[in-house]
Amino acid sequence: MAGGTASLYARGRETQRGATQDPAWAKWTIIGLGLAFFALFLLAPLALVFTEALRRGWGAYLKALTEPDALSAIRLTLLAAAIAVPVNLVFGVAASWLIAKHRFRGRTLLTTLIDLPFSVSPVIAGLVYVLVFSSQGWLGPWLQESGYKIIFAVPGIVLATVFVTFPFIARELIPLMEAQGTEEEEAAVVLGAGGLTTFLRVTLPNVKWGLLYGVILCNARAMGEFGAVSVVSGHIRGLTNTMPLHVEILYNEYQFSAAFAVASLLALLALVTLLIKTVVEWRVARAQREGA
């Protein structure tokens, strides 16, 4: 600030800073600390994953990824995500629309319930499913009679994944929709639009970037979930192992290179997710600038 007030109080170079600017040494110390922490705890482990994975060369790396058990784990992870994300997409959009645009009894309770998977430990979530669906559980005998297998099978893994990733999309959309209010919807209805048209042409386009962001987060968590899935999986190789579980098994068997190879694939998925997320955020910022 080179205004009159600044020169009035100027005692030297130091005082010519703006009110929210810190001296250079403070700025660089804080940036340095941040970078050091980032390098030590985030960048180094990530780099280690890739160096360990490639320690025995590309041949071993590719072999670890293409052996049948690994392939089956990759397939199961993708399947669980492919089911959990759309399910939570539909649920998340419906729930946030209900909570943000309507007033009804039990609204606060519903909001709290949506957060439940965040507040409950994933292991507990897994155990709850075991208690309900396993052969000794509440629904176990009935399920066995009907010939359904949920626990220690693919349905259990999908259920656990859905549970854990439940809040991501709704949590992303509720504040956004609440901030936007209901005036635009009212305007659409006055102009003669039906409920579905209003939702598809006004509500949904207004939250599309938030929705995409929620989907990305939900997908990242669905692929990386360990705790809840571990409890319900039973760790049957080639059948009920997801990628995170497969990594653990390999690691416990001292097959470090193979373990890190699979881990590197998970890390890659995360990096791609991060990249998409950054692009989305950038597009959102641009859209907001343009007011679109």
Binding site: L191, A193, R201
Partner: protein
């Protein structure tokens, strides 16, 4: 199209938003719903539009009961206070929305839509803004686009919620005149909500004063201003000096003097409240006769008029009088001088009504 509102009641929890409101809106006229914030005027507008359901009462469009008709079927144009433009659509698409969502058999063709939207944008003098997004427009432009969008579906009535509330003074004045002209051009029955008396009196053919969910008075602007029906209307419209006291031998006795009352203003001994507008006061140096004794605090010249601020000689209460500037020059008042205020006209209400207000 004429609108009739019959015995409308609306409560939000313990709060009575509308209390037995009955109202006639004549065909082709511009009606203002005027009142302080929270008086229920916006709720009434939303009930007429069908955005809000009344607890009881009826809304008649052209004599036909529309109370149970859905907003969609009422065919009203509604301009929201904050415009509620669709933020992800261009100005053109905003205006076209009402046409595009029509059922297939009623929907105009693309070229018809294009022609109509262009015509509407020309009507609001913004045809060069079609490709922009709402966030790129100024407040006044958004307002006009919101109006064009509402008109696109050829509504039977136009409802505007605080149409100038969010605009700065200069734009507000221009838009007000423009809306007035547009109304004359279209002849569409219109209702607008405002808390700004100047806006209501300048713009409307009919003013409806609302206070605490009830209609206080309905009339032409000049009528409600000069013949207020209730103390609320009197004090809400324009500035007034209030005198409260007892009727003693046909005059209102207050601390600073006496005011001659018109016949039938109140029984002997009754407590009444008399309102005098600043321009209704006559300032004299006469020392006897009816009138209020007051000391001149200061005089301000405002264009052709001069405003004199005074304090009651005994009560110390502030009063205000407005006289032509020429008269002020002739009087040559000095600050601190005691003068006599004699009203040319005043309006009297029983005092307990004031207390109930």
């Amino acid at each position: 199209m004429s609108i009739r509102v019959e015995h409308i009641n609306k409560r939000f929890g313990d709060f009575t938003a509308l209390n037995d409101v009955t109202l006639d809106v004549p065909d082709g006229k511009l009606t203002a719903l005027l009142g302080p914030s929270g008086c229920g005027k916006t709720t009434l507008l939303r009930v007429i539009a069908g955005l809000e359901q009344a607890d009881s009462g009826r809304i008649l469009f052209n004599g036909e009961d529309s109370s149970r008709a859905h907003v969609r079927e009422r065919n009203v144009g509604f301009v929201f206070q904050h415009y509620a433009l669709f933020r992800h659509m261009t100005v053109f698409e905003n205006v076209a929305f009402g046409l595009r969502v029509k059922p297939r058999r009623e929907r105009p063709s693309d070229s018809e839509i294009r022609a109509k939207v262009t015509r509407l944008l020309e009507l609001v003098h913004l045809d060069w803004l079609g490709h922009r997004y709402p966030a790129q427009l100024s407040g006044g432009q958004r307002q006009r686009i919101a109006l064009a969008r509402a008109l696109a579906v050829e509504p039977r009535v136009l409802l505007l919620d605080e149409p100038f509330g969010a605009l700065d003074a200069k734009v507000r004045k221009d838009l007000r005149r423009w809306l007035r002209d547009l109304h004359h051009q279209l002849g569409l029955t219109s209702i607008f909500v405002t808390h700004d008396q100047e806006e209501a009196l300048e713009l409307a053919d009919q003013v409806v004063l609302i206070n605490k969910g009830a209609v206080e008075q309905v009339g032409e602007p000049a009528q409600v201003y000069s013949q207020p029906a209730t103390p609320f209307v009197q004090s809400f419209l324009g500035h007034s000096n209030l005198f409260e006291g007892r009727v003693v031998s046909g005059a209102l006795q207050v601390e600073d003097g006496g005011l001659a009352l018109p016949a039938g203003s109140g029984a002997e001994g009754a407590r009444v409240a008399a309102y005098v507008r600043p321009h209704e006061f006559h300032v004299t140096r006469e020392t006897s006769g009816p009138g209020i004794e007051a000391k001149v605090a200061r005089a301000l010249e405002l264009g052709a008029l001069a405003r004199i601020e005074l304090v009651g000689a005994r009560s110390g209460r502030p009063f205000e009088a407005e006289i032509p500037k020429r008269e002020l020059a002739q009087l040559a008042l000095a600050p601190g001088e005691t003068v006599r205020l004699v009203p040319d006209a005043l309006r009297v209400f029983p005092a307990q009504e004031v207390a109930a207000e």
